[in-house]
């Protein structure tokens, strides 16, 4: 068989994936990323700056993103992070890892109750 295995990093390390995913939409900076995450997570998850900045530095160290200082229109100094090709590959890989993790979790603890009213409605119609 010789199937692909879950790396240990995937059991946790999801925050890195989240940040990479956000940077996929284009370069951004720490503070904005916090706000963006806050918006997308809709109150379920709240990651503070103390969480995100170290991760950004780690990602930079791994060459998955690059940093560049720039002065914004409002005169503020911002450190813009951008995905590298290597980071793009890492993101793709992380997605696969995440998918495998959900597979394993579903197989062991059972499927999660999904809010999919559309499918239900379609099912009712058909």
């Amino acid at each position: 068989m010789l199937m692909k295995k879950l790396r240990k990093q995937t059991l946790d390390g999801n925050v890195e994936t989240l940040l990479l995913a956000i940077l996929q939409s284009g370069p951004s900076y720490g503070y904005a990323i916090v706000k963006e995450l806050d918006k997308r997570a809709e109150g379920i998850l709240r990651l503070g700056e103390g969480t995100i900045y170290p991760v950004l530095h780690r990602l930079e160290g791994k060459k998955l993103i690059t940093a560049r200082w720039a002065r914004a229109e409002n005169g503020r100094q911002r450190k813009y992070y951008r995905l590298t090709p290597k980071g793009r590959r890492a993101l793709a890989d992380n997605r696969v890892q995440w998918q495998m993790l959900t597979e394993v979790m579903e197989k062991v603890i059972g499927p999660v109750a999904k809010p999919v009213p559309l499918a239900l409605a379609i099912g009712d119609v058909l």
Copy 2:
């Protein structure tokens, strides 16, 4: 609003959930749990004994499971673990936490490619 938040333990700590879920089917012992996980994960995830025993001990320390030595039919000494009511509650809670994590992940990194060709087919039809 005041919504429920993801606890930090849920970002990792999935192994505890896996073990609790397996013990939900009834009492078991370390070695058997390794094999059971191996079977259910179908090669995707491989947790060694060095991973599982410390977790079992931790769970016992948290009073989520209880341990009892017993001699099996084949004469071997086995340490059987059983879910406590508190462990049952923790498992239920962990499921909710896991569900929230998948929600956040899907919102940020997009949906996982699930083997659900039906939805695609329906979309094509409509």
